[in-house]
């Protein structure tokens, strides 16, 4: 479960004040809003990349507001994928496990499992410069899921893709969600994505987060 309680964030002239909402465990939440409304800021606060002025962020009832981002256990897929240009796809999937000093066998099994889940087995030895937009996003998703995070954060992951690839990725995200049951916060401005994927939809408007679709 993700909870934000009376969260305040100030960045220069931009300010988000008194943001409160919660996402139940295992739910796929979509946060919508216009460009510049602060949806990415909320996501970055959850990951730990942005300092919070006041308020609390809870993940599975543990207060992570001041916790180092490396210790939060949040998988992060940025808008452009932000792949590591010098690493192969295999190394991307193994990265978080190598950091956690997992054994070679565990790493190999997990890499094979993720590659098969995301349909990127044939790309394992390639490097990011040769990948298409859709392939790069699959790798970024695999990298974020590799260490079985408590929470997955997706920052407009489909915005740079063409319609056909976006539909394929939507199906993949739906499939991934059923397989992993990870609590997900997906930020987008596209209502179709919300319609297709979301259990619950939140809209950020005038500095307030409103719940527009409740979990069934």
């Amino acid at each position: 479960m993700i909870s934000m309680e009376k969260l305040c964030v100030k960045t220069g002239a931009f300010c988000l004040d008194n943001i409160s909402f919660s996402i139940p465990t295992g739910a796929y939440a979509v946060l919508m809003g216009r460009t510049g409304s602060g949806k990415t800021t909320i996501l970055e606060c959850l990951i730990g990349l942005r300092k919070v002025s006041s308020g609390k962020i809870l993940i599975n009832d543990a207060d992570v507001t001041m916790l180092n981002p490396a210790l939060r256990g949040v998988g992060y897929v940025p808008q452009d994928g932000a792949l590591f240009s010098q690493m192969s796809v295999r190394d991307h999937l193994a990265f978080a496990l190598l950091i956690r000093r997992a054994s070679k066998k565990i790493i190999k099994d997990r890499v094979d499992e993720l590659a098969s889940l995301l349909g990127i087995t044939h790309l394992l030895d390639r490097t990011p410069p040769g990948l298409s937009g859709g392939e790069a996003q699959r790798v970024a998703l695999g990298r974020a899921l590799s260490f079985r995070p408590k929470v997955l954060c997706l920052d407009e992951p489909l915005s740079a893709l063409d319609r056909e690839t976006r539909e394929q990725m939507c199906e993949l995200l739906h499939h991934m969600r059923q397989q992993t049951k990870v609590t997900t916060l997906h930020v987008t401005h596209n209502p179709e994505e919300a319609e297709t994927l979301a259990d619950c939809v939140y809209r950020i408007e005038g500095g307030q987060v409103l719940e527009v679709k409740q979990i069934q």
Binding site: I47, G48, L49, P69, A70, L71, R72, G73, V74, G75, Y76, P78, D80, A82, L83, F84, S85, Q86, M87, F95, A96, I99, R100, A140, R143, A144, S146, F147
Partner: protein, 307 residues
């Protein structure tokens, strides 16, 4: 009369309006573009010509002397090989010593420069902290300061403790050569590394941290591999800068033959004794060394990019 005049007036007004609404011509764009690129090429080409002409003049001077030596000798081919200014310079043990010292000191100062430039460039590029602008300005001082002043300042610094304790082993000794070269070369390496880190997307590092990396792991596994080209450029720049360093060396390390003599000092000493042939020969050796390092790092960099 009025009735007759009004259609004419209307026609005149219409003509004026159609003249107004007519799109204005933009002039001869094609000719203007050609003149623009011609001016650019002439101005840029003048400088390129100056560089190439300087190197050709050195080469021609040495070639002329080689031909002179060959025509005066009974065995022209042998003389061409053994009595050309470069061979004569290379057979001199003092010059051989200065070549070795140059190679070693330039490599050491370039390695030291990169080691120091990486953390400074990274901190300046990624973090805002009090005094950042002041630090940025301080790092430019070795670039803007006259080289002789750098040498003199080092010399004076080593009169004060704690530097004074090791002054006997440093000043006018080989460490002074490396320190003098490093003091200036490092500033160039810092500029290169800062610009390299500025161009690396911080998002990659943030993803690595979210995946569980510590700052040092994210730096070592993600940022540094992305900065390979910048590291090579910083090394080459620092190496070439060290090779050309002269002013600080003369003041801080002296120009003692077979001790603190590097190639730039050799050119100065040979010119002082009026041996222009040797000075030009050593200059060509320096050109060869600098170009070799440049080519090796460029080829290495390109191969890394291709892999």
């Amino acid at each position: 009369m009025t009735d007759d005049a009004s259609p004419i007036r209307r026609t005149n007004t219409n003509v004026a309006e159609s003249e107004k609404s007519k799109p204005l011509p933009v002039g001869n764009v094609v000719l203007s573009n050609r003149v623009f690129y011609l001016c650019m090429a002439i101005i840029g080409g003048t400088y390129v010509f100056l560089i190439v002409a300087m190197l050709l003049a050195d080469t021609w001077y040495v070639a002329e002397k080689t031909i002179d030596a060959a025509s005066d000798s009974a065995e022209p081919w042998k003389a061409m090989l053994s009595e050309n200014p470069i061979s004569i310079a290379l057979s001199d043990s003092k010059i051989r010593y200065s070549i070795w010292l140059s190679l070693i000191s330039c490599t050491l100062s370039a390695v030291l420069s990169v080691i120091v430039a990486v953390p400074i460039g990274y901190l300046l590029s990624r973090h805002d902290f009090p005094g950042k602008r002041l630090l940025d300005a301080i790092l430019d001082i070795p670039i803007v300061l006259p080289p002789l002043v750098v040498g003199l300042s080092l010399l004076i610094l080593f009169q004060f403790r704690p530097f004074a304790f090791i002054a006997r082993d440093v000043v006018y000794q080989i460490p002074a050569v490396i320190l003098a070269q490093f003091s200036v070369a490092c500033a160039f390496a810092v500029r290169t590394m800062k610009s390299t880190f500025d161009h690396i997307d911080p998002r990659c590092e943030q993803v690595a941290i979210a995946l569980g990396s510590s700052r040092s792991q994210a730096f070592g596994w993600v940022v540094l591999p992305e900065a390979t080209h910048g590291l090579l450029t910083a090394f080459t720049l620092a190496w070439a800068r060290s090779l050309g360093e002269f002013g600080p060396l003369l003041i801080f390390a002296g120009a003692t033959r077979m001790k603190t003599e590097v190639l730039s000092t050799t050119v100065f000493l040979e010119m002082n004794v009026g041996d222009i042939e040797a000075a030009v020969a050593v200059s060509l050796i320096m050109v060869f060394g600098a170009v070799t390092v440049l080519v090796i790092t460029r080829i290495w960099g390109t191969r890394e990019a291709l892999l």
